[in-house]
């Protein structure tokens, strides 16, 4: 007679090694993505194509700088989770953990660098 329950046996064995928090994070980040993407594409689309002076003038407007910064953070944070999902599905062990750390480092560095550039453009 084995006293282990089915639940106990299954717990922690999913690819994420944890409960539903990861799933909820994905729902929130997806909703944020849907709200932000149309405006981001149009904002960036109208900025790209200008001369250097026009680009500087474009991002010196607070609305453009703040929104682009927000969208950049939301989108890169979302694709970081997206990459993590794929890594958790297809990689295992130490390689998986190191790749998860590496993608987090790249994503967070991109957010930091993007925000720095926007602040410098805006001020």
């Amino acid at each position: 007679m084995n006293y282990l329950t089915d639940r106990k046996r299954a717990q922690g064995l999913g690819s994420a090694k944890q409960g539903s928090h990861h799933h909820w994070v994905m729902i929130v980040s997806s909703i944020a993505l849907v709200l932000v993407v149309p405006f981001f594409v149009l904002t960036l689309g109208s900025a790209i194509g200008g001369t250097h002076e026009e680009v500087l003038a474009f991002f010196s407007r607070p609305v453009a700088a703040i929104f682009t910064g927000l969208a950049l953070a939301v989108i890169i944070n979302h694709v970081k989770h997206e990459a993590h999902e794929a890594i958790e599905d297809y990689m295992h062990g130490v390689a998986q953990k190191l790749t998860l750390v590496a993608t987090s480092v790249v994503a967070n560095t991109l957010i930091a660098a993007g925000l720095f550039a926007l602040v410098k453009l805006a001020l």
Binding site: S30, H52, E82, A86, A113, A117
Partner: protein, 127 residues
């Protein structure tokens, strides 16, 4: 009682012999477009950093982005991010318990493809 027979269970479908379906293909494409957006974000941040640094570094990155190859990347990226956002919207709808029927999911799969294309064309016209 809770012991499970681990040796003789059906395996997951192998992709090489499994007939492609709208639901599986659209799901795989949501993942691919999501990861593609990750790579494109590197180019966008690079462009912003160059613009913040100097006119000459901006000229180099901007010249690349406005070449035919850069245009192609931006066009693909626009479609990819729209498709991905629509795919994620479909996930949110599913997660809240709606539209879980196979036919509805397949209709949404077609809708994502069409709507992403329409939104990309609208972006091309507006921008």
């Amino acid at each position: 009682m809770a012991d499970v027979n681990r040796g003789n269970r059906p395996l997951s479908p192998h992709l090489t012999i499994y007939r492609p379906q709208l639901t599986s293909i659209s799901s795989i494409m949501v993942r691919i477009t999501g990861i593609a957006t990750f790579f494109v974000s590197v180019i966008i941040v690079w462009w912003l950093l160059a613009a913040a640094t100097s006119a000459s570094s901006f000229g180099a990155v901007d010249g690349f982005l406005r070449s035919w190859f850069g245009d192609l990347i931006l066009l693909g990226a626009t479609w990819a991010i729209f498709y991905h956002a629509l795919g994620r919207l479909r996930h949110v709808i599913w997660d809240f318990g709606y539209c879980l029927e196979v036919e509805t999911s397949e209709t949404m799969a077609k809708g994502m493809f069409i709507l992403a294309t329409v939104l990309t064309v609208i972006t091309m016209i507006l921008v």
